[in-house]
Every structure is written in structure tokens, then in C-alpha cells.
Symmetry: C2
DNA sequence: GTGAAAGCGCTAACAC
DNA sequence: GTGTTAGCGCTTTCAC
């Protein structure tokens, strides 16, 4: 790779001048500029982002940390965020937290040694001690949380309104006549999961349906857990539920897998609903009723907030809550026909 | 972030000595070493990878370029490769080529400005002109191709034996009694796609089944195309096929989506098979017959080859071909029962 | 309008 | 066994 020095000497000017035309940072004689540009062409010169970053102490890259690569929800989110970030001149790097034993804290430190300008933290699953640590880090490195876990201190976050969303889905099930509605919880103990479950519980209560602990299975957002949860409901519960609601789509799909294997009809025997609206919801048969997260809006918002924070580190922290939308499909309402195409 | 200079002055030594204990590059007095390590602890010092990379002209990061983020196949591959790379001290960055109009060439240039040490090119879809360009780049930056497109020159690549694989799947269908077997092609024109299709064609020929152009639909590896292809076969072909074979799983799943919508029974009315064995194959009902790519082996191989190439840039290029395995499931053989769990 | 030079954080000669 | 120094490729004062 040609360096700025190569360009300078080939053009018979100093590196400073080359830098000036590169960055439009000071007026340069038109002729000289032409000459320099021409040389840059010839040498196929590309400025080293590394050197530039080192000098300016910023890299124009941001990282997004997700719990795992397996859930299409996060991959899709990554894609949207990458698009918005690109528009603003930032590259994105994806960090999955499922493999190895790296804690969020370690990963963030690692990212800092690579000069990332900011981080989008998509799920925090560490312990209380680590939370303190991360909050500490967030004083030095802009971080936007997408997990609204309970804090003493204010942090910047953008989340969907899980309480409201789950209330809507539950209501939908109740309106359909269900009373025995089981719930597959997410990673219990964190606010996102708690909020969603509370939406379910409060909605039941509102319609005078008792909330039974037997009908709540504490899982981890993964597909296999959805399968296991459903197995538990159908094989262990005194009265089998007529509807199963999961804290995310992927677990709902696990549940559908179990029901399919055992020959239950969906939704006639058991209705199933999820949360997220990943594309699998339209692939699975029957199509999955769910609560759509407007990923595009979320992505736009989160990128905007992060970049604002990068540009003015001392601006105050703010919380943004975004609304989703109930999507009714065949897994709860048999009148709705499956319609896969187009998927996107 | 504390710098090496901070550590040095806090420990009362020179930066060189600190660097020595950091890299174990020369003997250091035990007491001094202790002192330095203690100071590093206190300051939570982490060496800047950027500065180190700048100095050593290498970043310890490799990039993997994939056609899109939508196909779980590539995401899974990314995950495996990331694991092996991590073992060797490399970080991975993921670059999807589907959005925006960046060519492979531009993306590679961009990556070079960020000092990536090597690239895994998972699919090449540019034109002939660009191929020359990329081959040129591969002289300066180690690249391993996972697409075995036709070249004059030798390049390093690791690919699965698509010809053999597709032959096996086709044979399986024929053994089941099918004669009207339609084929959904991948991105036609590239060797991977051509090889797979040829496997299908040659196998038909071997069993004296005429190869009909009507039964070949040229698609693009995406799910929607699989749906469209199937629609074409079932609505336009004079004699409807009794089996549909797709160049990858995601298209097979698109086809299943169409068949499901229209009420065809699988495999009784139409059998469907794919290629890859992504996890969706076990989620879809009925489970998909496919040809399993041993991603773990592939990942290990590709990382090894890339790192070898990084370490000795002038070693000769080599091609590695890996075998897969036919996986028979309910989408072709109704005796095989669906079994989703565990998914991984 | 342009050049010389310092410096971002690190490693590696080279000297002692 | 340790310190001094040059330099990776760039940006940015500060002179002129």
C-alpha cells in the first residue's frame, strides 16, 4: 500500500499538503491539488485508517455486542444498525457473547484496545459486580444499552415496551377464549424479561384469570429451551394449557417443534405466540403470531443516540422506549392463512 | 486508558523495559518485572492493539466476507471460524456484501486500510474484470476463497465437493422412485453452482433419466427465489415434478413454503431436498433431507490455511476439497419422523 | 499556500 | 539487564 509519503514525494510536495487535500482542511493551490489527486489515483492510494485513528484517537468503528449469533433477531438488528452506521461513516463490528467465557467487561476492554468509538450493548447477562464495572467503563466509552436492566444510575438505552407488548399478545389470546395460558420466560432476573412477564401476568389478572406458577417456565431465550418448556407444560402440568406464550419467537418455535412432533394441532389444540417477529415466524407452519419489533426504527434511534454521545460525551443520558405491533397469524387464529412470500 | 509511558514512569523504568515484560522479548530483572506487573494491574493497563499493529504492520484480525447475513449457513460458518481464529490469537470481522453497491474489490481495499491480516472470501459474485483485480490484491493480502470459481491461475481455496454431494442427493431421490426431479440452481455461472447442478444432471443421466431444461430454474440462493422456483414448477411445467432439489437449504425451505400454502403434502405429493444442513432443516416441517456440510472441519481447515499463508506469504496455493454427508429426513422419506430437539 | 516537525502508543535496533 | 531513539502513517500546530 502506498503511503502519504509516497504520494507526497511523487507529487513533489510535503505530506502536509497531501493531508490537506485529503481532508479539505485548508485551502490548497488548485494546480497542486490536481496534481496530488492525479498521483493518488495512479498509486491507488488509500489513507491508512489505522494511522489516522491513532493520530486522532478515534477509529470510526462501533461495536455491537449480542448474546449469540443464533437468533436471527440480533443478526437482523445488526444489519439495520450497520446500514445506519455506514451512512454516518462508521463501520460496525459484531461481538457474540455466547462462546468462551469472556465477560462483557473483558470484551469491552478488548474493544477499547482497538479504539472502538462506541458500543451498543444488546444484552447484559453478567452479575451485579460486573454491572458496576460496566457502568464505570461507560463513563469513558460511549455505550448505549438495549437492555433496560434495573440501575441506580441513569444510562442511555433504547428498548421496546415489553410490558405493553406482552399485554397486547396476552389480551389477544384471552379474546380468543383461552384461559389456560402458559408462559415461557426469558432470562429471568433482568428487566426486559421481567417486564414482559409482568405484562402477561397483569393482563391475566385484569381479566380475572389466576396467575399460576405452574404455567411459568423460566428459560433462556434459546430454541431448545422453548422445546423443553413446552414439553414440561404438556407432560407435567395437571391441566394442559390451551395456549403457550413465549418471551421471544425462537422459543415459541421450539415449542411448536415439540407440539408438531407429538401431533398436536396448532392452534386447535394449542395456540402459540411469540415476541419479536423474526423472519422464521413466517417460515414456520403455521405462521407465528407475535409482537413485531420495529427493528428499523430501533436501529435508527440507537445509532443516532450513540453518535450523539460520541460527539458530546457529557450530554445527559436518556431512555427511549419504542412501541411494537401485534401481528396475528395462524398459530393462534386458524382463520389466518399462512403466507410466506415474500419473506422480507 | 493508561499508556505504556504511564506504566513506565509509574514504575520508574523506561518504556522499553515495560515493552519487554509485555512481550517477553528479553530477560528482565525479576524484581523490576514484579514491580511493572503490579503497576500494570493498578493502572488497569491494556496495550493498544492499534499502536502495536501500526508498529508491527499487522492487526491480528482477519475478515470474512459473506454474500448476506440472512443465510444461517454463513452465520454458523462465521461462528466456527471465529472460534478457531480466536484460538490462534486472531479476531474476526464479518462483512456482508448484500447491501449497498460495494464490490468485493472496494470492500477488500477498505479492509486493507484497516490492516486486516487476511481475508476469507466466502462468495465471489463480481464480474470477470473484478476477478482479475481481486487476484491482484491476493498477491499482497492473503486471501482464501471458499468459492471455487474457474480461474486460470491457482488460488488457495477450501470447498465442499458439490458434485459428489449433489450426485448423492439425486441418487437418493431416484432410489425412492422419483423420475420427475426438478432442480433449483444457485447463482449460475460460478463454479460452486455449476458443479452442484452437474452432479444432479450427471446422476440423472446415469440412471437414464432425461435432463429437461424445463426442470431447471436458475435462482440466486435466496429463500424467496426458492418459493418462486417452486411456484414455477408447479404452475408452469407440463408435467409437475414429484421431487424438487435445491442448491441450498434456504431455497428448499422457500419451496416448502409454497407447497405448504397450496396444500401439497410433503413428501407424498412432492419430495423436497436441500443442501447445507442449516439448523432450519430441523425446524421446518417436515424436516429437510439435505447434504450436510461439516462446517466445523471446513472452518478449521480454512483458518489453518489462512494463517499459514499469513505467516509465509510465498508458500504455494493449494486447493482443499471436503466431503459432506447425506442426511435423510422426512421431506423425502415419510418413514423418518421429525426430531427437532436438540437443535445443535 | 506550503513545509518542517511533533506526536499518537507501541516495538526493535542499538548502545551501554 | 536497561535506556535511548527511530519510526510505523497520519494530522496538526507553528513558522514562513
Amino acid at each position: 500500500m502506498a503511503t502519504i509519503k509516497d504520494v507526497a514525494s511523487a507529487a513533489g510536495v510535503s505530506v502536509a499538503t497531501v493531508s490537506r487535500v485529503l481532508n479539505n482542511t485548508a485551502p490548497v493551490n488548485e494546480e497542486t491539488r490536481q496534481k496530488i489527486q492525479q498521483v493518488m489515483e495512479e498509486l491507488a492510494y488509500q489513507p491508512s485508517m489505522i494511522a489516522r485513528g491513532m493520530r486522532k484517537q478515534q477509529s470510526k468503528v462501533i461495536a455491537i455486542m449480542v448474546p449469540s449469533y443464533e437468533n436471527p433477531y440480533h443478526i437482523k438488528l445488526f444489519k439495520y444498525i450497520e446500514n445506519y452506521a455506514k451512512e454516518k461513516g462508521y463501520r460496525l463490528i459484531l461481538v457474540g457473547m455466547d462462546e468462551g467465557n469472556n465477560s462483557e467487561h473483558e470484551s469491552i476492554m478488548d474493544l477499547m484496545t482497538r479504539n472502538v468509538d462506541g458500543i451498543i450493548l444488546c444484552t447484559y447477562r453478567g452479575n451485579k459486580y460486573n454491572i458496576k464495572n460496566i457502568l464505570q467503563l461507560s463513563k469513558r466509552l460511549p455505550i448505549i444499552f438495549m437492555d433496560n436492566f434495573e440501575f441506580d444510575e441513569a444510562i442511555s438505552s433504547v428498548v421496546i415496551d415489553g410490558y405493553k407488548g406482552m399485554t397486547e399478545v396476552t389480551k389477544h389470546l384471552i379474546k380468543l377464549g383461552h384461559k389456560a395460558i402458559a408462559y415461557i420466560d426469558g432470562s429471568s432476573g433482568y428487566k426486559v424479561a421481567n417486564e414482559r412477564r409482568k405484562g402477561y401476568e397483569d393482563c391475566l389478572a385484569k381479566y380475572n384469570i389466576p396467575v399460576s406458577q405452574e404455567y411459568i417456565y423460566y428459560a433462556d431465550y434459546e430454541i431448545d429451551a422453548g422445546y423443553e418448556a413446552c414439553k414440561y407444560f404438556m407432560e407435567e402440568c395437571e391441566t394442559k394449557p390451551t395456549a403457550i406464550l413465549a418471551a421471544n419467537d425462537i422459543m415459541a418455535i421450539g415449542a411448536i417443534g415439540y407440539l408438531g412432533e407429538k401431533g398436536y394441532r396448532i392452534p386447535q389444540d394449542v395456540a402459540v405466540a411469540g415476541f419479536d417477529d423474526i423472519y422464521l415466524s413466517k417460515i414456520i407452519v403455521p405462521n407465528l403470531t407475535t409482537y413485531r419489533q420495529p427493528l428499523n426504527t430501533i436501529a435508527e434511534q440507537v445509532v443516532k443516540m450513540l453518535i450523539d454521545k460520541i460527539n458530546s460525551p457529557n450530554s445527559e443520558e436518556k431512555q427511549v422506549v419504542i412501541d411494537g405491533e401485534l401481528i396475528v397469524r395462524g398459530s393462534t387464529d386458524k382463520r389466518v392463512k399462512d403466507k410466506m412470500f415474500p419473506i422480507n
